[in-house]
């Protein structure tokens, strides 16, 4: 089949699914809706596989499929075409998106079965899929931006899916607006790039890059990258715009898994990787990205340690992991970033789905303090969750181990890296191990704290099947990117397939003097840190249960600060949003009503006043009129006599 049709179908199929479910959105036939949506998604996955297979079949270095659909819009010399581009970078992405997406679609069938409007839900999911594919497939920044905003829109719709709850609706709104801030940055980035390069198409930017880079002061590029990065912070929940993601957990859990863990939030990473050629020309921005990534990883991880809501913990974990990815791109490790993106998609989707399964079983209870001992009620969930746990804390040889370790290594060794970044990463990894173990202990292990009226049960097959698939992927997903040092010592010398795949298209900053010994040492340190903190968590929450409170008391203010999420939300509300609203009210009351309108009234009053004055002349007193006439006559005659 021809590629254009396939690429088109990638978008059209979810759109058809969306239309089908969207038009009958009031239907409660979740099975039909789910089947259609999952079929669309599954077909997409198959198409993606076909396309990737085609890509593999191409000679190395020329692996690119482009497809031009129509000219989108032209104005002056600005022209954008609606066209897609498939190359190794987004090949990974579309596989992840359609693959994980399909699994989540299937999972959702069971999950959403009790809801009022399952059709609507699946419609949104398909719409999201479509937009996500547009995002990753777009061959220029604007098409990408279409998907970029489109996924934001879907995220808004899905977070606010249970809109009757004002908080959930507010969470959706918050997500959209926060994303909008990022999008504004993204737009500015596009402008800067367009004004610098005269085009917004990736390939043309790449071709013009060398000349432009030589000719020009890199200021605009730096600025452009900075703006693009702002866009990325919005979409990918980095400091300072991460605040929407924890709130986004208000949406259905599969949505959290798909959008807020596996796919959408990684769009920022994808974008930076896609633009890596440009970004490497702006080392300053790279440093900023790395620092922001490290801070985010660390900060979110610490918050994660103090949360009690199962989804919130996972959400902060997601933020933290995204921080890792940004740390990676910040130090120029684009391929590890993509690698981590992929593995993270697997295990985080798994954990979210697992938590969804738990929540489903617990009748929508999300507080881990009311769980515990679920292991015996839901063994499959527990087992798959366990795999996810191991993967995320970086237990070898699961997926997370390879990707995370490679990031840490690059952050230490890359020319853009620094040891402090590595330290932050390691501490974050420790925290990750701690809160994830804590989550396992509180949820699945130990004695049950489940309320009497709740009867936890294992989820149906449609839900456990994706869990199992993802569990397997969490285990094996990392094996396509085994680092060279490890590959060298492992039997069979598995190659770093991913790096090999991406290398022709991604320019990575290689460590200048890589030393295997150092790398092993660092790996050991991070592993042991993770292991120790995992043990601590186990000790705290299963063995000595009084210790957490003790530690909490000791930490005091620091603890409450962290458990209050560093009071960032409060800061935003108290210092930015509320003053803005007050300002707006002030503007309305004082500028609009009391100033501009008053000015117009003043003008009219002046007219009125002069009218009043003239009216007092014209007071109906005829004799006064006669006096005016006589005065006029006198003056006129005098003037004439004087003049003659």
């Amino acid at each position: 089949m021809n590629e254009q049709l396939l690429l088109g179908l990638l978008v059209v199929l979810p759109f058809l699914g969306f239309l089908f479910n969207g038009i009958r959105f009031t239907s409660k036939n979740y099975k039909l809706a789910g089947t259609v949506a999952s079929t669309a998604s599954g077909l997409c996955f198959l198409i993606s596989l076909t396309l990737v297979a085609k890509l593999i079949g191409m000679p190395e270095g020329e692996r690119v499929i482009t497809s031009h659909f129509f000219d989108w819009f032209l104005a002056g010399d600005f022209s954008v075409s609606a066209s897609f581009l498939l190359d190794p970078i987004n090949a990974v992405m579309i596989l992840v998106i359609t693959g994980v997406g399909t699994l989540i679609h299937i999972f959702s069938i069971g999950y959403i079965s009790h809801d009022e409007r399952p059709s609507k839900y699946f419609a949104y999911l398909n719409l999201f899929l479509m937009n996500m594919l547009i995002l990753v497939l777009g061959d220029n920044l604007l098409v990408m931006f279409v998907g970029w905003e489109g996924v934001g829109l879907c995220s808004y719709l899905l977070i606010g899916f249970w809109f009757s709850d004002p908080e959930k609706a507010a969470a959706g709104m918050k997500a959209f607006i926060t994303n909008r801030i990022g999008d504004a940055g993204f737009l500015l980035g596009i402008f800067m790039l367009f004004l610098s390069f005269g085009t917004v198409t990736f390939s043309e930017i790449a071709t013009r890059l060398p000349e432009t880079a030589e000719m020009m002061w890199t200021g605009p590029i730096t600025l452009a990258c900075l703006f693009l990065f702002i866009g990325a912070t919005g979409k990918s929940a980095q400091i300072p715009l991460y605040v929407w993601l924890p709130d986004a957990m208000a949406g259905p859990t599969p949505v959290s898994a798909l959008i807020h863990a596996a796919t959408m939030v990684t769009a920022g990473v994808y974008m930076i990787v896609r633009m890596s050629d440009v970004f490497v020309l702006a080392p300053l921005v790279m440093n900023v990205i790395a620092i922001i990534g490290a801070l985010t990883a660390l900060g979110a991880a610490t918050i994660g340690m103090t949360q009690w809501d199962i989804k919130k913990i996972l959400a902060y974990s997601t933020v933290s992991q995204l921080g890792y990815m940004f740390l990676a791109v910040g130090v120029g490790a684009f391929i590890p970033a993509m690698f981590h993106l992929m593995t993270h998609a697997f295990f985080k989707a798994l954990m979210f789905l697992g938590s969804g399964s738990v929540i489903h079983a617990m009748a929508d209870e999300q507080d881990v303090r009311k769980m515990g001992g679920l292991k015996k009620y839901m063994p499959i969930t527990h087992f798959t969750f366990l795999l996810g746990w191991l993967a995320i804390i970086g237990a070898p040889p699961l997926a997370g181990f390879f990707s995370k370790d490679e990031i840490l290594w690059y952050s230490f060794a890359s020319p853009a890296g620094h040891w402090s970044l590595w330290v932050a990463g390691v501490i974050a990894a420790g925290c990750t191990a701690f809160y994830m173990t804590r989550l396992m202990c509180l949820t699945f292990w130990g004695e049950s704290r489940v309320p009497k009226e709740v009867h936890p049960h294992e989820s149906p097959v449609s839900m456990t099947f994706p869990l199992i698939v993802l569990g397997v992927l969490s285990v094996v997903g990392g094996w396509i990117g085994i680092p060279h040092v490890l590959g060298a010592i492992i039997p069979g010398h598995p190659p770093n397939v991913l790096e090999h795949w991406l290398e022709p298209v991604v320019r990575m900053l290689k460590p200048e003097h890589a030393s295997a010994a150092v790398e092993f040492a660092l790996m050991g340190i991070s592993l042991s840190v993770a292991g120790i903190s995992a043990y601590f968590a186990y000790d705290f929450y299963l063995v000595h249960k009084d210790r957490p409170t003790m530690v909490t008391k000791k930490l005091g203010g620091l603890y409450s600060l962290v458990s209050d999420k560093y009071r960032i939300d409060e800061f935003y509300f108290g210092r930015i949003i509320n003053p803005l609203i007050d300002l707006s009210k002030g503007l309305w009351l004082y500028i609009d009503i009391n100033f501009i309108d008053k000015m117009t009234y003043l003008a009219s009053d002046m007219v009125k006043g002069s009218g009043q004055f003239l009216r007092s002349l014209q007071n109906g007193n005829l004799q006064q009129y006669a006096l005016y006439i006589s005065l006029g006559v006198v003056v006129t005659i005098t003037y004439i006599l004087m003049g003659s």
């Binding site: 004799q623 006064q624 006096l627 006589s630 005065l631 006559v633 006198v634 005659i637 005098t638 006599l641």
Partner: protein, 177 residues
Amino acid sequence: MLGAAIPFYILSFLVLFFAYKTITSPNPIHCALHLAITMINLAFIFFGLNSPFIGGVQLVVYAGAVMVLFVMVLMLFDLKTEVRAFSRGLFSSFLKVASSGFLAGILIVGVLMSTDMLDVTSDSVGVGVKATSSTDIALLLFNQYVFAFEVLGLLLLLVAVGAVAVSRIPGGTHAND
């Protein structure tokens, strides 16, 4: 010379005196009567200016009709002698008198100054005492000024209708018609 001067001065004096009385008499009826006398005297001045037709018309129209109307209306109103005949306001009164006086002064000065500019003979030429003068007036009126004359006729008709309409307000004498 003297024969022309004496009647003029007598009539002038009468005119001015009764004009003065007209504007100062506190009783409106007296005002009206004084005005009537002024008019009659003026009519005689007109006769003296060889304009007997206009003089007669002055008698018929002004003295005989308009002033009778005034007097009638005044008598209908049964007005008493006014306590305050003049409008209030010291400053405006001053202005009024001053402007009037100034105007009179200017007019007189203007008249005296412009004596030489007027293309008139020093003596009354006399358009004609003869009855032909009224014929001449008629010819002028019905030839050169016929349009104005017709318009005036129309105006009078309108005024007649208007005056009746204005005075027939509700509560008037014909309210029950």
